[in-house]
Every structure is written in structure tokens, then in C-alpha cells.
């Protein structure tokens, strides 16, 4: 099947279009829910809250087993039992939220937190295309006045889910809201105060690969990333700043391997002086593209997410704007630091390990900054040994010096198509500071450079063939 036939087959294979009657109204309804929650539901909950306050509801979390519920009799909640699927619950009818402590004690969340949790669930929960896992004891229970309820299970990565009997629904509260829930249940500190880090971890933050350990931990969710509201400044007095790229997609995934230690407060000031966001509707509110990690001498740490696209949020929704401008400023600070006190990166490094641990869909290791090909000074080939499965561990080989030099000077030949069978090797090259750029090798042994390909010839042909020898799992 050639590409034209593929195109025709795809276009012709779509089922009949559905009736779109009512879609426009549904879009409006969802939009209202996205923006500010439905006024009716908000009023209902405010009434419930007012009634609760009038009846003497304490502002602190309440153990349901011991204290009357705010708007009626205490619901029977057992945190120890796995619950059956919820069935189809109308999210707009939910009015209360009860969390479960580690000791399986049910604790009602306070009114303000309940409002935020319910709004977030209505706004952000979505069904998955998978069946739910086996039932588990709940971590959070959302209740309606008519007795219906959702029992949510919290995973280690702070994602909650519930089973409606047919599919699994997923809700990501975000780091800040999750931290508030955890704090209310006595399970973790609140989100705003800087979390102390172990002194012993500071020297190890760089790690063995090209991605600093601290960035791995941010990207994996191990280190939470709370929002930074526009009216809150990061404290000055920073000891060092890390710039972590986004390993998922969008643009270069690897930040500088070394932290900013020269005038680190300039990075903090650059962030603090960004204007508050006035964005209304964004096409991609969750499009985080990089993180700024600020370490303070007392061991505390602040992490701020920023994006360079769409609303260019810095610090999340309700934070500042200007993520692209901030990135330019930060890269300028690193550039100045390298100019003043260059620290060439010559250490051994597990490049292929970083490459293998990158999520599916990530195409190589590429620096968050522009890396000139002419500035590259060493390189590695990463490939799966012949005969191994395409997803087997990759072998790392040094690229001979003559090939490194040749690649920096090569002129690529434009081609229409490349083909990269699974398991094809890639060349990862570094500049003197360890900023990486990846060039794939296609099924003909050609290196993809920029918008074309280049094949080592003459005296370079044999070293090239030897370097790739036995790394052609895809063939």
C-alpha cells in the first residue's frame, strides 16, 4: 500500500458521521463548567456551606464517625472496605468530600477545600478507554445529598480514579490541590511551604546521565510542582537553580547538566517580575514544557512549572505569563555563567541509559537550548544489539573522533523520506558543556542531519561501519 492508497483507505474507512444536533449547546455547557463551575451547582454548595456554618460546623476537618455532618446526618463511610462501582453519578449533585487517613478514619474536608475539590473533579475528570482495576479501599469519597457517591482511589503519583461500572474515570487534582487534601488528612505537609531536602541529596542532584537527578524526580512526579500564584513571589537568596526540560514532547527535553550558581537570584528575579496572566481560554492549559527548580541554602526547594506555548503560563493557571521570555532569560544566565567560569563536561556519562529511560514517543535526547552542530565535540552511538528485541537494553559506543569532526562539518543531502525500523541506532552528540543533540540512523545506514541525510564515505566508511556493526536489531 503506497501513501496515496493509505490516505484514501483512511479517509474512506470512517464510519458514518453522527448527528451533531445539540453539540453546540453541549459545548457551551461544558465551557461554563470549565470556566467557573455551573452557577446552579455553586449556589447549591454555597447554600449547603452556609447551612453548615449556621449549624456550627467547625472549620477544621471533622471525623465523621464522631461529629455530625455539615448538612444532614453523617454519611456512613467505611474507609476500610473496597467499594463497588459507583454507577452513573451526576457530578453536579456532589456536595461533600470525605477523605480517608492512613488509619482508615473518615475525615470530612473543610468547606473551602470541598468546593475546590468538587470543582476540580467536575472540570478535570475524564473517562479512560480501559476498564477499572480491581476495587480497592477508597482514599476520597465524594457524596451527594441523595446518597449517591463516588469512591476514589489515589495512586502513588497523586492521580485519583473511580469505577462507574463500565469504565475507569481519572482525575488529576494537580500537585497543589492534592497536597491540600493530604495535609487536611494529616498525611503530608501543605503545598506552599518549601519542602526541605536532605542535605545528602544535594551533591547527587546531577546524576550519572545527562538529565540531572532532580529533573528526573520532577518529571516523574516524585517532586511535586505546586502552582505559584501571581501575587506570591519566590524568595530570593537562592543557592542554585536547575532548568529542567520536558522529556515528553514539544521541544528540547534536556536542560543544562549543571545548575546555575552564579547570581542565582537573577533567575528568581526574572521569574518574579513577570506579569500576572490575563489569559482567558487556552488551547492547552496542561502543556508544561519546562520546570525551574530553586534550591536554597537552608535545604528548602521551590519548583515552578512554565510553558512556552499558548498562554505561556509560569506557575500554572492563575500565575504569571511569559514562559518563552523567561526561558530566553534563563538560558542567557547559563550562557553568561559558562562564559565567566567554563566547566567543560568531559566526564563519562550513560547517554544511552537516559535515552532508554525516556518515555515512548520521545525521539532522542535534545537540549532545551539550540546546539550548533559545529560546536559538538564528542558523540556516542546507542543501539540495540543484533538479535535482541527492539526494546532491549541499548549498547553505548564512542563515536571515533574523525567521525565527530566530519559530522560537525558535513553537508546534508535533502531526501524525501527516511525510514527507521524499530531498533535502529541513533547518534547522540554533546557540545563541551554536555548539551545533547540526537541524529537518527536510517535503514540504509545514513545519518539524518537537519533536513537531509549524510553518509560517511572514503576513509570514514570503515569506522562508521565498525561503529554500527552488530547494532541493527531492526534489520
Amino acid at each position: 500500500m503506497n501513501e496515496e492508497e493509505l490516505s484514501d483507505a483512511l479517509k474512506g474507512g470512517v464510519p458514518p458521521r453522527p448527528d451533531t444536533a445539540g453539540w453546540a449547546d453541549e459545548a457551551r455547557r461544558r465551557s461554563r463548567r470549565r470556566r467557573a463551575w455551573t452557577p446552579g451547582a455553586l449556589i447549591a454548595v454555597l447554600i449547603a456551606i452556609a447551612a453548615a456554618v449556621a449549624s456550627g460546623l467547625p472549620d477544621q476537618p471533622v471525623e465523621i464517625v464522631a461529629t455530625p455532618a455539615p448538612s444532614g446526618p453523617a454519611p456512613k463511610v467505611d474507609c476500610r472496605l473496597a467499594v463497588p462501582p459507583s454507577g452513573d453519578v451526576d457530578l453536579s449533585t456532589l456536595t461533600r468530600a470525605v477523605g480517608c487517613t492512613d488509619d482508615a478514619v473518615a475525615v470530612e474536608l473543610d468547606a473551602g477545600l470541598t468546593v475546590d475539590v468538587l470543582a476540580s473533579v467536575r472540570d478535570g475528570a475524564f473517562p479512560m478507554d480501559t476498564a477499572a482495576p480491581a476495587p480497592e479501599p477508597p482514599d476520597l469519597i465524594l457524596l451527594a445529598d441523595d446518597g449517591s457517591r463516588l469512591s476514589l482511589v489515589r495512586e502513588d503519583d497523586a492521580i485519583y480514579w473511580w469505577d462507574d461500572g463500565s469504565v475507569q474515570h481519572v482525575w488529576d487534582p494537580g500537585a497543589e490541590l492534592d497536597a491540600r487534601i493530604q495535609e487536611a488528612l494529616g498525611l503530608a505537609p501543605g503545598p506552599v511551604r518549601p519542602s526541605p531536602i536532605e542535605t545528602g541529596r544535594l551533591p547527587d542532584a546531577r546524576g550519572d546521565g545527562l538529565v540531572p537527578t532532580v529533573c528526573d524526580e520532577v518529571q516523574s512526579g516524585e517532586i511535586p510542582v505546586p502552582d505559584l500564584p501571581a501575587d506570591e513571589d519566590l524568595p530570593t537568596g537562592a543557592a542554585r537553580v536547575w532548568l529542567c526540560g520536558d522529556m515528553w514532547e514539544r521541544f528540547g527535553g534536556v536542560g543544562p547538566i549543571e545548575p546555575l550558581t552564579t547570581d542565582a537570584d537573577r533567575a528568581v528575579e526574572a521569574l518574579n517580575t513577570l506579569p500576572p496572566s490575563e489569559a482567558d481560554v487556552c488551547t492547552e492549559m496542561l502543556g508544561l514544557t519546562y520546570h525551574v527548580v530553586v534550591d536554597y541554602p537552608d535545604g528548602s526547594r521551590r519548583v515552578v512549572a512554565a510553558e512556552t506555548a499558548n498562554c505561556q503560563f509560569v506557575g500554572g493557571w492563575g500565575g504569571r505569563e511569559g514562559g518563552a521570555e523567561l526561558l530566553d532569560q534563563l538560558l542567557g544566565l547559563w550562557s553568561a555563567q559558562r562564559g565567566d567560569s567554563p566547566e567543560p563536561f568531559t566526564a563519562g556519562v550513560d547517554v544511552c541509559g537516559d535515552l532508554a529511560s525516556a518515555p515512548t514517543g520521545t525521539m532522542g535526547l535534545n537540549s532545551i537550548a539550540d546546539v550548533e552542530r559545529a560546536s559538538l565535540y564528542r558523540g556516542f552511538v546507542c543501539g540495540v544489539p543484533e538479535g535482541a528485541a527492539p526494546d532491549a537494553d541499548m549498547e553505548q559506543r564512542d563515536l571515533p573522533g574523525e567521525l565527530v569532526i566530519a559530522i560537525t562539518q558535513a553537508t546534508a543531502t535533502p531526501v524525501d523520506q527516511w525510514a527507521y525500523p524499530d531498533g535502529s541506532p541513533v547518534v547522540v552528540m554533546l557540545n563541551q558543556y554536555g548539551d545533547p543533540v540526537t541524529y537518527p540512523v536510517d535503514d540504509q545506514g545514513r545519518l539524518q542531519l537537519d533536513d537531509g541525510v549524510w553518509t560517511p564515505e572514503g576513509d570514514l566508511a570503515d569506522p562508521w561501519a565498525e561503529t554500527l556493526d552488530g547494532l541493527w536489531a531492526g534489520r
Binding site: M1, E3, L6, S7, A9, L10, K11, G12, G13, V14, P15, P16, R17, P18, T20, W23, A24, E26, A27, R28, R29, R30, S31, R34, F126, P127, M128, D129, T130, E155, D157, I159, V170, D172, W248, E249, R250, F251, D280, V281, C282, T283, E284, L286, G287, A309, P359, T360, G361, M363, N366, Q417, W418, A419, Y420, P421, D422, P440, Q448, D451
Partner: protein, 169 residues
């Protein structure tokens, strides 16, 4: 509702009536499920409809909606991956018996087996006929990544057991 807002609301309704089906078709190719495709379109429309009045014509607004739809799709994919979840292993819905060739169904099955970024790139390139550069801008990927996704996606389709079966038959 003032006259301008009312006119915009009417225009948005007409836009959805005229173009909603094609938006759904693109969503279905991405997801392979009728209901989730509708959910994806609805999500994109809900994110964009307040901007309808600001576009000079429906063609440009549709480009905006489609961009939002693909980015939402990629966003969902990211969130699933974050949880180490994989898309459903169940096959996509079969194409309706509307005269479409049987290989259309097989192709959908093969397409559904691709990783989501590859699927998005293939659909944008070969269903929406967008050039690589435009796909890259739309999905926020380097052009080389799009090229690689397309190349790997095509390679996977060529060796897909669903399509191999078709060829054998």
C-alpha cells in the same frame, strides 16, 4: 444576549452543524471509538467556542478547533502515559457497512495499534494532508520527530498482522 453575541452564537451553531461531522471523523481516526471521539470533539469545542466571534471566517476557526483537538488528544495521551497506562487493547469499532472496503476496517485496527503520537502524525499527514512542518507546529514537536513518527508508523502499518491478513486473503 446582545445582537453581536446572538449572531456569534448562531454562527457557532451553524459551524458545528456543518463541520462537526468532519471533526468527529478526525477524532474517530485518532481514538477509534465513537463515544470517546465525540467527547474529544466536544472538549475541543468547549475550549474554543468563546473565541468564535474573533475569527474572520469558519475556515480559520476550524483550524483553531482542530489544533485544540489534536493538542487535547496528545494531552490525554500524556496523562495516560504518566500513569503508566496504555491505551485500550480492545480493537476500535468496526467501520459501518456503508460500502467502505473491508481493508478500511483492517486499517483502523492497524492504526489503533500504533502509539498515539504516531497515530496523530499519520492522521494529520495522510487524512488532513498537512505538510510535515504544519504537523510539527500543530503538535509542538520538532519536524524531525514528526518525520520519524510518520516513518515508524508507516513501517509498523506495513508489517501489521491486520494488514498482512488482508493481503493474504
Amino acid at each position: 444576549m446582545d445582537q453581536r453575541t446572538e449572531a456569534a452564537a448562531g454562527g457557532f451553531d451553524r459551524f458545528v452543524a456543518r463541520r462537526g461531522g468532519d471533526l468527529w471523523a478526525a477524532a474517530w481516526l485518532l481514538i477509534g471509538d465513537r463515544h470517546h471521539a465525540e467527547d474529544l470533539v466536544q472538549t475541543a469545542l468547549s475550549k474554543t467556542f468563546r473565541r468564535y466571534d474573533g475569527f474572520a471566517d469558519d475556515r480559520r476557526f476550524e483550524a483553531y478547533v482542530r489544533t485544540t483537538m489534536y493538542r487535547t488528544f496528545v494531552s490525554w495521551w500524556r496523562r495516560l502515559q504518566w500513569r503508566s497506562e496504555v491505551p485500550s487493547g480492545s480493537p476500535p469499532e468496526l467501520a459501518a457497512p456503508d460500502g467502505s472496503p473491508a481493508d478500511g476496517t483492517d486499517l483502523q485496527r492497524a492504526l489503533a495499534a500504533l502509539p498515539r503520537p504516531q497515530r496523530a502524525c499519520i492522521v494529520l499527514r495522510y487524512v488532513e494532508d498537512r505538510p510535515t512542518k504544519e504537523v510539527a507546529e500543530l503538535l509542538g514537536m520538532p519536524a524531525g520527530t514528526v518525520t520519524s513518527h510518520v516513518s515508524r508508523g508507516l513501517a509498523a502499518l506495513r508489517v501489521s498482522p491486520h494488514l498482512s491478513t488482508e493481503e493474504q486473503s
